[in-house]
């Protein structure tokens, strides 16, 4: 209706999962505030943050849901997987147990998200090299075997934090471009401005019946 410029063309929904204390909240905080929050309070249930970033020249708003890793919140956090376009699955490179639990997190993620959901594995606390308990190589191999993107990062130094969110976003964007992610379906985890240029054959699909408001 108007030619007014918009702030962004897409919204991607992300979820951050992983054991308690691996630094999920710190990663989110580092990403949205560019600061390390050393005394981050325990996450109660689910919290969220947003940031607009550029992906292949498109402004994309990331809406990120940070979940509590504690078992007692598992039932609650499971509900947030639905409709996530990207999932950051985090472990702590200095605590092997958090790495060992990955398969359980991955199972949840696979069962509860859609097949196009981009999952990136993140080995956090890469700044604590001296205390390393999980090698880069084995995690890399795990990621490859399971078709995950992989990065080691540090919420403390900020190393690879930006990249982690960006890598996932790029992959999602690619899925949109090659048409494997259907934007028109509800809860694809991606929302798209009608005014923004659409990629590839998405245009060919007819708009879903979204006219007429009945309330």
């Amino acid at each position: 209706m108007t030619a007014a410029p918009y702030n962004y063309s897409y919204i991607f929904k992300y979820i951050i999962i992983g054991d308690m204390g691996v630094g999920k909240s710190c990663l989110l905080h580092q990403f949205t505030e560019k600061k390390f929050m050393a005394d981050c309070p325990h996450t109660i249930g689910v919290e969220f943050g947003t940031r607009i970033m550029e992906v292949h020249g498109q402004k994309v708003k990331l809406q990120i849901w940070d979940t509590a890793g504690q078992e007692r919140f598992r039932a609650v956090t499971r509900s947030y997987y639905r409709g996530a376009a990207g999932a950051l699955m985090v472990y702590d490179i200095t605590r092997r147990s958090t790495y060992n639990h990955l398969s359980s997190w991955l199972t949840d993620a696979r069962n509860l998200t859609n097949p196009n959901t981009v999952i990136i594995l993140i080995g956090n606390k890469a700044d604590l090299e001296a205390q390393r308990d999980v090698t880069y190589e084995e995690a890399k191999q795990f990621a490859e075997e399971n078709g995950l993107l992989f990065l080691e990062a540090s919420a403390k130094t900020g190393e690879n934090v930006e990249e982690a969110f960006l890598e996932a976003a790029k992959k999602i964007y690619q899925n949109i471009q090659d048409g494997s992610l259907d934007l028109n379906a509800a809860e694809s985890g991606v929302q798209h401005k009608p005014s923004a240029p659409q990629g590839g054959r998405l245009n060919a699909d007819s708009q879903p019946a979204k006219e007429g408001c009945s309330c």
Partner: protein, 651 residues
């Protein structure tokens, strides 16, 4: 010339002769001659000229010509003079003509001078006028500049007017806001005029600006309203211009509010539709599956709905924050709360209907309890986004929370009353009844879910007492009733066992200290009974019971103990033999009920404390029987063991 030549030698000779003849100076002729001779003809120009002129016509030196010379010269002179006169006459005539011309010119000049004079006289007035006009002109120009400046300050340019008056549905642009703010400024500035003597202008401009402002606001309102009305997609990116429009509209609270209402209504539609889609359609290719697909799993079903709403609420709050980013109005926070409340109001019905369905289907106490905790958690979570709890969505969630809690307690009470309906007899092993075990496992489940509840600690503690009393109080009652027909030891054993399982169940959970303490007291009361029972059991079996009773009830009036029936030395001796047997193997004397005790520690405690009682009893018997007043002969042989020895043997 020839003459001159001729005469020169004569002159020379004359000169020489003169010098030779100085003797005759006064002779007139000579004087004359001398004078002639002295005449230097070549120096007399006049003479030369005359001679030259003469040479022209005197060409023939003859007598006749010489005689006629005078006449000739005179005639010639006359001719020349005549010629002269003639020429001068011409000159004169010319001069006269010139004179005439000059005369005419003079006349003309005079005339012109006169005319000029006249003209000058005439223009004098004009010049004065012109000067005056020029002065006027300058003044006017200054005034024009002032007026121009005035207009520039207090009026809109035609482009600005055009910007304000653009077509209804034309998009509002940056310029529009610039003009609007100018109108506003003019309206403000013009107040200065009211303090000067330009009040009329001031008032007029003020009114004009007021009218323009109203028109502009109305136009802006229409545009913003229309813009908001279109925001019914799930995606909702607020354009910066719309944000600016809200900033401008805050000066007109009514329009501002209507626009917000429109926004709220549009978003409300979007959220309802999104919610219904999530419930019934799910994601692309069916993943994530529609939420309703999980309606068989109540916790997941309700959890998914609430999580969806939590996320939607957070998004809507963000949209609203973007929309009202530049609004500085007081109470904008409350505005947001109100609008988010309005936006999320639409989903209340579909949500309520579904949750009610789940609750009413009686999914069992534990599930109801989990549901109520989940609802409480989301109430808390969503409230922290909306910022108030008066929003319909929160009230609905709270209502569902209370309903599920009520149904939970109902379910517990129902369970309890069923227990009381058919009281089970204690089993032969005096252990907890099946219904006790079953109820405790229910409690355990509830407490487990409570412990793992997502609800914050303080909130969790609140309804804890209620859960416990709802389950424990009927249970205690149940145990007491079912134990009522038992013997003392059986009853106490049964009660201790039942209380013990309750205690161990509770001990695993937080916030049970008070209850645990109460159970502990009750256990102790029954323990005392058991200790006494065990002690008398031992005393009876060890043959000390009768003697101990006699010693206890003995009074001085009865005389010495040894004289009482069956208290003679031999009877006492027989009893002591029996007691000695007990001392050699104290463990064998144990009430059968003690073996039913579930807790080895309790059993141990009863055994220890009852043994102490036995020791004390022996001590009393020993003191009494060794007393001389009771007249036993040789009491040391009668009672070979001192109380200390007994104590040592038994501990």
């Amino acid at each position: 010339m020839a003459n001159t030549k001729e005469e020169s030698p004569v002159d020379g000779s004359t000169l020489s002769s003169n010098s030779n003849v100085p003797s005759q100076p006064n002779n007139p002729l000579s004087r004359k001659l001398n004078k002639i001779l002295e005449t230097r003809l070549d120096n007399d120009k006049e003479m030369l000229e005359a001679l030259k002129a003469l040479s022209v016509f005197f060409t023939e030196n003859s007598l006749r010509t010489r005689r006629n010379l005078r006449g000739d010269i005179e005639r010639r002179s006359l001719t020349i003079n005549e010629e002269f006169a003639r020429i001068f006459k011409e000159v004169k005539e010319e001069l006269e003509s010139v004179h005439e011309d000059v005369q005419a010119m003079s006349t003309c000049c005079e005339e012109m001078t006169n005319r000029l004079k006249a003209a000058k006289e005439q223009t004098q007035d004009l010049i004065v006028k012109t000067n005056k006009l020029q002065g006027e002109n300058q003044r006017l120009e200054v005034r024009a500049q002032v007026a121009q400046a005035f207009l520039a300050k207090f009026q809109l340019s035609s482009e600005e007017m055009a910007t304000l008056r653009r077509a209804r549905d034309a998009p509002v642009t940056e310029d529009f806001f610039k003009v609007l703010s100018r109108v506003k400024h003019i309206h403000e500035d013009v107040k200065i005029l009211l303090r000067t003597n330009q009040q009329t202008a001031g008032l007029e401009i003020m009114e004009q600006m007021a009218v323009l402002q109203e028109k502009a606001y109305e136009q802006l309102y229409r545009w913003a309203q229309n813009e908001c009305r279109g925001l019914t997609q799930e995606t909702c990116d607020i354009s910066p211009v719309l944000t600016q429009a809200m900033e401008a509209l805050q000066d007109r609270p009514v329009l501002y509010k209507y626009t917000l209402d429109e926004f709220g209504t549009a978003r409300r539609c979007a959220v309802v539709r999104g919610f219904i889609d999530a419930l019934t359609r799910g994601g692309p290719g069916g993943t994530p599956r529609p939420i309703e697909m999980h309606s068989h799993d109540p916790l997941r079903y309700v959890g998914d709905m609430l999580a969806w709403l939590h996320q939607a609420t957070a998004s809507e709050k963000e949209h609203l924050e973007a929309l009202l980013k530049q609004v500085t109005l007081q109470g904008v926070g409350e505005n947001m709360q109100e609008v988010v409340g309005h936006i999320t109001e639409g989903v209340c019905r579909p949500l309520k209907v579904r949750i009610e369905q789940v609750i009413v289907a009686e999914p069992g106490a534990v599930l109801l309890y989990k549901l109520s905790n989940l609802l409480k958690f989301y109430h808390h979570t969503i409230r922290s986004i909306i910022g108030t709890s008066v929003a319909s969505l929160l009230m609905t969630i709270e209502e569902m929370h209370l309903l599920s809690k009520k149904m939970f307690f109902n379910s517990l009470s129902l369970h309890a009353s069923r227990l009381m309906d058919k009281v089970e007899l204690p089993p032969p092993d005096l252990g907890p009844t099946a219904s006790l075990n079953q109820t405790l496992s229910l409690l355990r489940e509830v407490l487990t879910s409570h412990d793992s509840s997502v609800v914050p600690l303080d909130a969790r503690q609140a309804d804890f007492a209620q859960v416990l009393s709802c389950i424990l109080d009927p249970l205690l009652q149940l145990c007491t009733v079912s134990a009522s027909n038992l013997g003392t030891a059986d009853m106490a054993t049964y009660m201790v066992n039942s209380l013990y399982v309750m205690k161990t169940t509770l001990a695993l959970f937080e916030f049970t200290d008070k209850r645990l303490e109460m159970l502990e007291f009750q256990i102790e009361a029954h323990l005392d009974t058991l200790i006494n029972e065990q002690a008398s059991y031992v005393l009876t079996r060890a043959g000390l019971s009768y003697i101990y009773n006699c010693v206890q009830q003995h009074t001085a009036e009865q005389g010495p103990l040894s004289l009482l029936p069956s208290m003679d030395s031999s009877s006492v001796k027989a009893a002591m033999v029996q007691f000695d047997r007990y001392l050699s193997s104290p463990d064998t004397l144990m009430m059968p009920q003690l073996n039913f005790l579930l807790s080895a520690a309790i059993k141990e405690q009863i055994f220890r404390q009852s043994t102490e009682l036995v020791c004390r009893a022996y001590g009393e018997v020993y003191t009494a029987l060794t007393s001389p007043a009771n007249t036993y002969t040789d009491p040391e042989t009668l009672l070979p063991r001192s109380p200390q020895q007994v104590q040592t043997l038994l501990s």
